[in-house]
Amino acid sequence: MTIRVPAREPVPHIVSPEPFDPYSVEAMTPRQERYYQASQWRLMWWRFRRHKIAVVSAVVLLLLYASVLVSEILAPYGLESRNPGFLLAPPQQVHLFHDGRLVGPFVYGLNYALNMENLRREYTDDPASVQPLRFFCRGDRYSFWGLVDSDFHVICPAQGGTLFLLGTDRLGRDMLSRIIYGTRISLTVGLLGITISLLLGMTLGGIAGYYGGKADMLIQRLIEVLRSFPELPLWMALSAALPVDWSPIVIYFGITIILGLLDWTGLARAVRSKLLALREEDFCAAAMLMGASPQRIIRRHLLPSFMSHIIASATLSIPSMILGETALSFLGLGLRPPITSWGVLLSESQNINVVVLYPWLMLPVVPVMVVVLAFNFFGDGLRDAADPYSH
């Protein structure tokens, strides 16, 4: 038996006649080039953009913070405008069609009757009274940021009509307007608090991480002690210590300081551990040999290289402050009326009757949850982006 070996084809000529550029191997695609030449911040931005939920959260937060600037204009009513005829009215629905005819956005007027059996206030839609909404209109007078008097609103009820999109509270004040005003306080509490906490955390964490030794020991112990306190009871004790005769605005600053004073421990730990790792790096030794002062080394060389991490962890600790303020105000130890925050609004819904009879009084919890979730996702995205060189 013979094995048939297939006849060999002649090997084709493989040398390319094209001129050869020896550097073509090292050359980068434009994409790679862009990547390697990008600054750290640009890389972070690219990395952040990939985290879709974080981007959406960032947009939500941005919109909310922008609304803080123009709360007066966005709210259909003033913060304290009472509607004595409409106490604890349920949310009014916006309709478009009346009797099969397009009217544009409108609400039906409310009929009020007191149920004599259980003494409940009962509101029903009055189909006869169609109240079209007005946009970019004149409504309740207000003082814009306490400086300029005006009465311009984005949306107002019909002349002589009502517009309670989220119902009213026990004094007949519009919940939506109060929530919009509350945003201003609730969101800034978190920002001011985190600023204080950042300053404290970076200073103390910086000292502990850079100098080490005794100072490190002392600060570590202090952090341990503060962390073993349950947060809320300590907040409660401190805010109960704020004098009763202080004005609400001073109390507001007092509360933010209290929130910041107890929150810095986590940040300080992050700063410390980062510094401990970074100060062993060569560029740090070089700066030291050239005679730079510790302050200069920390500020010029160390801070920039871990600033992104610190911002990310700071973002992640804002939600706990917002929740803390909400809890304190709910207990009556936090902000006091007329300062209105989401927590102050929620303190109206302290008992179970509200859940049964007036569930719309619990609506301020929605923005609380949205903001807390958004900050969590945003912070997660930032944390991933903070280290753009890792893969």
């Binding site: 409660m236 210590a241 929620l346």
Partner: protein, 332 residues
């Protein structure tokens, strides 16, 4: 082991001293004291004030002494089981605090157990089924639990247990059992009433626990020894349980240090909403009426609860993990 234990307890002493100092400073912060406020209140109502009793109390509790002397006598008393005098209740603090503290401890313990029981299966599941629909859903639910203010969640849950199961609203037991001797029915009623607070307080801590367990387990699962075990033909269940799971369980115990303060915090506000006879509501009223020794004792006890909890978890961890025991290293 003994060496580690002794060192660990010695470290605790300065911590406790610092805690007591901070606590005492805080309760001293508000201007005035309970007695002055109280006397003024009585005078404005035109009532006679028993000056001799007031003087006695002032002297007894050294309200006019300088700060450091007041602190030393308070701390000295604390060490001997004399926690001071509750002006509001007209009783020694120890007589007021006892039951409530016990209940707070039971509540915290039940919540820790709840957190473990819930976090364990979910954490393992979402680590082994990474990026599945269930993983995403559970993670989102965890986030939601984190974002909902405890007190409101408690109210809503209270309403639903009332509607669905007819549980009486608020308190620790059904009103008909109050003042009755312990029986099976009373015990059942207490358990039924503890369910809502335990779930509510538990939700916030559970989310964090799930995330940590998931992350730890994923780290372990990516290690080479797991690959080797699989390659040798170990069944997947055994390859998961035998080593990776045991390694990943460390945070369950190590994290008590983070979990306990969180739980005690949550318990304080939830108890106010649900009017549970724990430390929370009483601490609140003591703070509002400047009943300083009562408030101070509560703060001190709550902080001690966490410090001792952390100590116990460190000891348990040292027993479980020889690396910590032998190096005597810092845990967590």
């Amino acid at each position: 082991m003994l060496d580690y234990l002794v060192r660990r307890i010695l470290v605790m002493i300065p911590t406790l001293i610092a805690i007591s100092l901070i606590t005492f400073t805080i309760i001293q912060l508000p201007p005035g004291d309970y007695l002055t406020t109280h006397i003024e209140e009585l005078r404005s109502q035109g009532e006679a004030v028993d000056q001799s009793k007031i003087d006695f109390l002032r002297q007894q509790y050294g309200l006019d002494l300088p700060f450091h002397e007041k602190y030393l006598s308070w701390a000295w008393g604390f060490l001997h089981g004399d926690f001071g005098y509750s002006f509001e209740y007209n009783l020694p603090v120890s007589a007021v605090v006892g039951d409530r503290l016990m209940l707070s401890m039971i509540l915290s313990f039940a919540t820790v157990v709840f957190t473990w029981v819930v976090a364990f299966p979910i954490g393992v599941y979402s680590a082994t089924h990474r990026y599945s629909a269930a993983d995403h859903t559970l993670t989102f639910l965890g986030f939601l639990g984190l974002a909902t203010p405890n007190f409101l969640f408690a109210l809503v849950l209270l309403y639903f247990t009332n509607v669905l199961f007819g549980t009486s609203v608020g308190g620790l037991m059904d009103p008909k059992y109050i003042g009755q001797p312990w029986s099976l029915g009373k015990f059942g009623s207490v358990v039924e009433h503890l369910l809502v607070p335990v779930i509510v307080i538990g939700t916030s801590g559970t989310a964090g626990m799930i995330r940590r367990l998931r992350a730890n387990l994923l780290d372990e699962l990516n290690k080479l020894y797991v690959t080797t075990a699989r390659a040798k033909g170990l069944p997947p269940g055994r390859a998961l349980i035998k080593y990776p799971l045991r390694m990943a369980l460390n945070p369950f115990i190590a994290d008590i240090g983070n979990l306990l303060p969180q739980i005690v915090s949550g318990a304080a506000i939830v108890s106010v909403v649900l009017s549970l006879p724990t430390t929370g509501p009483m601490l609140l009223s003591a703070l509002q009426s400047q009943d300083m020794y009562l408030a101070g004792s509560f703060l001190m006890f709550l902080a001690m609860l966490t410090v001792i909890g952390v100590l116990l978890s460190d000891i348990a961890l040292a027993m479980l993990d020889p690396r910590i025991r032998l190096h005597g290293g810092v845990t967590r």
